[in-house]
């Protein structure tokens, strides 16, 4: 297919970013392990980062890549806090099952 080796369009990168975001969303909704749920939020961050950099490249505006630095900052802060909370929750009930915590009161 000679036409397939043309130049890429923006939509190709947006497609990959959207698929990563949606897969992270599905994982967050359907998995029951607390750690994997937070891993899936990081996956959604990956999709957003890809979209931001693709827009930055195709609009030749470097603010998109600058924003990725802030996304990384938030991701690092979120990982530290969330994993600390997960360890705290694990010490209370000795399980990582999210549905154990479905009742608001104890």
């Amino acid at each position: 297919m000679p036409q397939a080796l043309g130049s890429l369009t923006l939509s190709h990168f947006l497609l990959t970013g959207a698929v990563l975001f949606v897969l992270g969303l599905i994982g967050f909704l359907s998995r029951r392990n607390l750690i994997i749920m937070f891993l899936c939020t990081e996956m959604m961050f990956q999709g957003v980062v890809l979209t931001l950099v693709a827009f930055s490249r195709f609009q030749s505006n470097y603010t998109g890549q600058t924003f990725v630095i802030f996304v990384l900052t938030i991701a690092a802060a979120e990982a530290a806090m969330a994993l600390g909370l997960v360890v705290l929750l694990f010490r209370r009930k000795r399980t990582l099952d999210a549905s154990v915590w479905s009742a608001l009161s104890e």
Binding site: L5, S7, V19, L23, V53, R94, D97
Partner: protein, 286 residues
């Protein structure tokens, strides 16, 4: 045209639903095959309709191959993360996502972001995740030590989650690939936002950016640099320098706020880690 996107979304949803962990038999091989066929078919369709003929303006031909390789790797790894039984393997597949998306960022000629992504995500955040997975692992059953606990083997409402996710995906795709005849908005026509701009256009746009212009003068040391000298100097700027200029010249307040957020999360993590927990729950209930 949008029907192809809808069909692809539906087939992808069915494939992912087949692969989700659940009670009883789950046809993972069949789901993987269906997903691969769907993704390949969608890419073939898009390659026929949305790739411009090779020109000197866009991302060049070898990058197209790398784009498909890295995108396929990222999507396969993402599916494995949300379908794998064991959390450690899910974390390792997430490292694969990070590496593949770093490759995609390299295709987009964002070298600094690619390297920062590998260092921060693959090096720092994922190591933290793996440590917590090891710290919070349950003592295994002695009869079958290789079996994952039930909350890893059975997912919660996979059908609803897959439907929600892929409806969102179909909406996103139909907005991304909307053609010009359905709407007047130039934002959505693929030909307007299709091509990566040439270097001349980047120089032109970056030079009109006032902050970058000021920073360039500051770097050069001579405020009276002529336009042609500035052009030459901007041409020599690489990706890291441009991102740095944009970060420190355009967003100083955001930089300060990021520092405050990191400090707050540091304090919060220390407070959370030092919280004493009375083990009031029965230990053997699992």
């Amino acid at each position: 045209m949008p029907y192809v996107l809808y069909i692809a979304s539906t087939l992808g949803a069915v494939a992912l639903f087949m692969m989700m962990p659940r009670h009883g038999y789950s046809p993972r091989k069949l789901g993987a095959l269906l997903g691969a066929v769907t993704l390949g078919g969608l890419w073939l369709f898009l390659a026929q309709h949305y790739l411009e003929p090779a020109s000197d303006r866009g991302i060049t031909a070898p990058a197209v191959v790398y784009h498909y390789i890295f995108s396929g790797l990222a999507i396969v790894a993402a599916v494995r993360v949300i379908t794998h039984d064991k959390p450690v393997y899910a974390a390792l597949w997430f490292v694969m996502i990070v590496l593949a998306s770093a490759g995609l960022l390299l295709v987009l000629s964002a070298e600094f972001m690619a390297v920062a992504m590998v260092i921060i995500y693959g090096g720092a955040i994922l190591v933290t995740y793996v440590f917590v997975i090891m710290l919070a692992s349950q003592p295994g059953d002695t009869a079958a030590p290789d079996d994952a606990p039930a909350y890893d083997r059975v997912s919660r409402e996979p059908a609803a989650a897959v439907v929600v996710g892929f409806v969102l995906l179909a909406l996103l795709l139909s907005a991304m690939f909307a053609t010009g005849d359905s709407t007047d908005s130039p934002w959505l026509t693929p030909n307007v936002m299709a091509q990566a701009p040439s270097d001349e256009l980047i120089i032109e746009k970056v030079l009109t950016n006032r902050a970058a212009q000021r920073a360039l003068d500051r770097i050069g040391g001579q405020g009276e640099a002529t336009v042609s000298q500035t052009f030459a100097r901007t041409d020599q700027l690489d990706n890291t320098e441009r991102v740095g200029l944009d970060l420190f010249e355009g967003h100083p307040l955001g930089l300060e706020l990021a520092g405050v957020i990191l400090l707050m999360s540091l304090v919060g993590a220390v407070v959370i880690a030092r919280t004493r927990v009375e083990a009031s729950q029965p230990q053997e209930k699992s």
